[in-house]
Symmetry: C2
């Protein structure tokens, strides 16, 4: 029987889990509500329940699971296996998730940042499976980052590496939730893209999105994309402004990590070519000719919502392979 | 007898060389003119001459040199050992420096980017000798970068990693020599700092530096520092503007590589506390409180002009240790 790994992807709304074999093949998967309002004990119990469900679905006993990987939103302490203060899990404070899950199943368990595991999934069996190295952006409420270099994560000395969303791109730009000004995240994430549209309308810009707001509709990056495709000029300007910043973020990673690929993931990436087209256009326009052909290609993530649990399972396999877990 | 390595630091003006033992102790060193106007054959012959001189000075035959390291200005192809098109060595085009030196001495030879070797020198026996990881900025004509992570260089898939000077920090900022806008280098390097001062005076700003220009004196970052220390307001504003951008560059590396240290090297770093003080002040002001104590400390480089040949020798030792050279 092939060696299997369990992956658990902890999100603010849903917990996803799956059993993945050593080649990255998904044997079973599930998604249940996080019930974050119940607090850490409820959520950890539900994480264990989800993992048990996928073992049962795949007809695999825990003896045949080699290790468990957990992907979780930051901030977290990978070495200690502790979730520190995640913004989308209110009330959590220094929760030792890894050890709680490890004890429950009596299986080696590793805890990783959710953007890192998404990067690992794409590197393992997704858009980057042929690539030497990649940098992944999760373009959602915030902008997370994952870096795979020489077959490993960049975690940093203080366990806070690959936080690409907090690279400052415009020092006089918008205040970010982290306290800095002009972070990549505060210029181009899905939620800040929506804020840019709302503020432009509040400042008097005309747009078909005004009617949506007037009837109580929420302005999201999906709405902006829809209205752009229907011909709204403001929606186009705002969407393209975010694409321009995503191109600049990609140029910066080209110069710093110089990976083979930049992978766009997360909510905004579901726009597909409507995202990739303008991002590549700005990327080609804004990058320095002096560096010739040394720029990575930009591609879309391939694994969608499954990247979290697949990458978590893959991170568990990686930790075993590197001797970090036994 | 201890194992020794020869380091050669190729600069546009001078070639420095030294013999360094396996513990990083400098046994001999020299500096001669590059004579870049003579073209690649003359320069390579002078590099060999400098290496021979330091072997003779240290009374070490080439049989007792384990390997040779060469640090050179970019752009270069590390894997192929070729210097491509260095801006400060006019007329050079795809010169196979590594193989030429390797054949001359019949010793294993490695070619590395000059900022990488400076970073390695500081990591090996300098400001970062106790550190887990570091990012080094060479603040000179341009801004070079070197990254040491997990005891190795970050070179990138296209051999163009750690080019931190071309990270875009202000997309509407000044045009950089590389063709991009608002590169870190175009905002804060020594030569661009001087240009900022000159342009401000040409736009009408009052400054004691005007008198220096009027008598034909060149405005350099050293002059700006001197005039700032004598109380000139424009000099202070321009110097502090560069320090602010250096702080932003450091914040960005804190979020991406999250090293233990950021090391400031190159011409501007000779300003010592006059550089470090304001950079640290802006670093503390501009960084995000959300990331707590995960920011690296910023320090000055310790090895000065010797970092190049020491790091080149160290890179040769590293390549031997990693089995990349034999």
């Amino acid at each position: 029987m092939t060696t299997c790994f369990a992956g658990i992807d902890l999100g603010g709304t849903n917990i996803k889990a799956g059993i993945v074999d050593e080649n990255g093949k998904v044997l079973s998967k599930t998604s249940i509500r996080t019930e974050a309002e119940g607090g850490p004990d409820v959520v950890i119990s539900r994480m264990c329940q989800a993992a048990q469900t996928v073992m049962d679905m795949a007809k695999i006993s825990r003896d045949h699971v080699r290790a468990i990987g957990v992907g979780a939103p930051g901030s977290l302490d990978h070495k200690a296996g502790i979730i520190l203060e995640p913004p989308n899990l209110p009330g959590w404070h220094n929760v030792p998730v890894r050890d709680r899950i490890q004890s429950h199943f009596n299986l080696p368990t590793t805890l990783e940042n959710d953007a890192n595991v998404a990067a690992w999934a794409e590197f393992w069996i997704g858009a980057g499976q042929e690539a030497d190295s990649l940098v992944l952006f999760t373009l959602g409420t915030g902008i997370g980052g994952g870096i795979v270099c020489e077959g490993k994560f960049i975690r940093g000395f203080f366990d806070n590496g690959a936080e690409i969303g907090h690279m400052i791109i415009d020092p006089d730009g918008r205040q970010c939730g982290c306290g800095q000004r002009g972070c990549f995240e505060a210029l181009a994430s899905a939620s800040y893209t929506a804020r840019n549209a709302i503020e432009a309308m509040e400042a008097g810009a005309e747009s078909s999105m005004k009617a949506i707001r007037n009837r109580g509709g929420e302005i999201t990056s999906e709405v902006i994309l829809d209205e752009m495709l229907k011909g709204d000029k403001l929606a186009r300007d705002i969407w393209h402004q975010s694409c321009r910043y995503i191109a600049i973020g990609s140029i910066n990673m080209a110069h710093i990590m110089n990976p083979e690929l930049v992978v766009l993931a997360g909510g905004m990436s579901y726009a597909g070519e409507h995202l990739l087209g303008p991002v590549r256009q700005y990327y080609n326009e804004l990058r320095g000719p002096a560096f010739g052909e040394t720029y990575p290609q930009i591609v879309l993530a391939a694994l969608g919502n499954d990247a979290g649990f697949i990458g978590a399972a893959g991170a568990a396999k990686l930790a075993i392979d590197l001797g970090e877990l036994s």
